[in-house]
């Protein structure tokens, strides 16, 4: 069975749940509005011209933050992984940062940078860089030491060995980190929007909740779910293409 796309019959439980919800619950239910009401709420927001800009804003921030995180996390990870002195000196700092829940970065950044769009990007980039950095460091250390001998016996200087051997060898580990970072970046993007009311989907959710517009809240939850699922599919496709060069054992860890 294709691991990327499990059997579609597996969608039955979710479908049945939504169907029963739609049929059993009255449309005006204050707490558990049925799925069609979600849809109507989304359509209403789209007509009012607030939905599309919010989705665009959220996706754009997410993507920009993620790209910065990948570049910074991978670069630093390669440095820390290949230079033992840097690794030794940074171990305790890294251990503490690893234990720190990413959301605490949000109030710190708000305090230091205020409610600026740059703050949003910074927070997403910093938090999403961690899993990438840590996986990259682990990946570098899993590169077979024999490859170092191979490079040196071919007279490659240190930076060439890093660039031609360590960096590509660490790509599968990078992808593991990016997978975590994608999920984290979505969460942090929404959290900032909820926390600071900077524009985006998160703000619409808070507004819906404050106005007791449960259909809007559930509708946006569903929308966020669909977006998040689509992002994971896109990522899995990219991952599949990249990892087609690696042995299946590595690709499927």
């Amino acid at each position: 069975m294709n691991r990327l796309l499990p059997a579609w019959v597996g969608l039955l439980p979710l479908g049945i749940l939504l169907l029963v919800w739609q049929v059993a619950v009255p449309a005006a239910s204050p707490n558990f509005p049925p799925p069609l009401a979600w849809w109507h709420a989304l359509v209403a927001m789209a007509r009012a011209g607030v939905l599309v800009p919010a989705v665009f804003e959220t996706l754009w921030t997410f993507l920009a933050g993620l790209v910065i995180a990948i570049v910074a996390g991978f670069g630093l990870g390669i440095l820390i992984g290949t230079v033992r002195q840097v690794r030794d000196w940074s171990t305790l700092i890294l251990e503490f940062m690893r234990a720190l829940p990413p959301p605490v970065v949000v109030p710190i950044a708000v305090l230091m940078m205020g409610f600026a769009p740059a703050m949003k990007l910074t927070v997403i980039a910093i938090t999403a860089a961690w899993p990438i950095l840590l996986n990259t460091v682990a990946g570098v250390q899993a590169v077979p030491p024999l490859l170092s001998d191979v490079g040196r016996s071919m007279h490659m200087p240190w930076h060439v060995r890093v660039w031609r051997i360590v960096v590509p060898a660490t790509v599968p580990a990078l992808l593991v980190g990016v997978r975590v970072a994608v999920a984290l970046a979505i969460v942090i993007t929404l959290l900032i929007e909820i926390f600071t009311s900077l524009p985006g989907i998160g703000v619409l959710m808070v507004q819906g909740q404050r106005n007791y517009n449960s259909a809007q809240v559930f509708g946006l939850l569903g929308l966020v779910g669909v977006l998040a699922y689509m992002l994971t599919i896109v990522f899995a496709l990219i991952e599949g293409v990249v990892l087609s060069r690696w042995p299946p054992r590595v690709a499927h860890r």
Partner: protein
């Protein structure tokens, strides 16, 4: 026994010792290693495990420095991997870049100094030397062990080395593949004129491939004796292995290793 310095020596080791630091003090890996490798010669070094075979090849290759003694390549002390020397490692799966195609692996050592066309020509030539023309676009993990080891040999040949250092290259292959790669190696020696240091724990393989066989023995390891192989340049898997010279040398080497292992 091989004390005299041959004028045409490519590599020369004089009284080489190697120690590594361990938790309490240090451990001697090699002690008093002397030998010379002549131009175009295959020197087989045979020894049981734990006698420092891999350390020896890494020292010759300039990958680690000896603790004392001298390692000379073309009369100059070795400091770092010398130009014109290529290494073939036993662990082909880890020595190949699994994410590069066979052709890209072979290009690894030459892609920085040759232009694209020259590099492609050289890769093609080396693919043909080991008979992998049809697998240029495959990834190493799609090939059998014997084919992966051929890729590693082709990658070494692409450097056009004067000396090939081979660290138990056929040890993890099955008997059939091993025999065909042995013959391929002898053919390549004829075509390239390179010298070989061939490390193995297999006495018969050492005799079959070597012009001379050196015995590495003891802990710390040292070259205990060296024997010329009186088989002539052309070898045959059946006839050579049944020749009286082969059998006699085999018996002597068994004795030399077995009595002290």
């Amino acid at each position: 026994m091989q004390g005299g310095v041959s004028a045409s020596a490519v590599f020369e080791l004089r009284n080489v010792a190697y120690t590594v630091p361990v938790r309490e003090g240090q451990r001697d890996i090699l002690r008093g290693v002397d030998f010379a490798l002549g131009a175009g010669e295959i020197l087989a070094i045979v020894g049981p495990s734990g006698t420092g075979k891999t350390s020896l090849i890494r020292i010759i290759a300039g990958l680690v420095a000896q603790s004392s003694g001298e390692v000379l390549f073309r009369g100059r002390p070795v400091a770092g991997p010398p130009e014109g020397v290529a290494v073939v490692f036993q662990d082909y799966a880890n020595a190949l870049l699994q994410w590069r195609t066979v052709a890209a692996n072979i290009a690894l050592g030459i892609e920085r100094r040759l232009d694209r066309a020259a590099c492609a020509r050289q890769v093609e030539r080396c693919l043909a030397l080991v008979g992998l023309e049809r697998h240029a676009g495959d990834y190493p993990w799609q090939l059998s062990g014997g084919m992966q080891q051929r890729v590693q040999i082709a990658r070494a040949l692409a450097l056009e080395p004067a000396v090939l250092l081979m660290d138990e290259p056929f040890a993890s292959l099955d008997a059939m593949t091993k025999a065909s790669l042995q013959d391929e190696m002898l053919r390549l020696r004829g075509e390239t004129g390179a010298s070989f240091v061939f490390i193995t724990h297999d006495i018969e393989e050492a005799i079959y491939l070597g012009d001379r066989v050196a015995v590495l023995r003891g802990r710390p390891g040292t070259i205990a004796e060296t024997h010329g192989v009186g088989l002539g340049a052309v070898r045959d898997q059946v006839a050579s292995r049944a020749a009286p010279e082969f059998l006699e040398l085999r018996q002597r080497l068994h004795g030399a290793i077995g009595a002290h292992a």
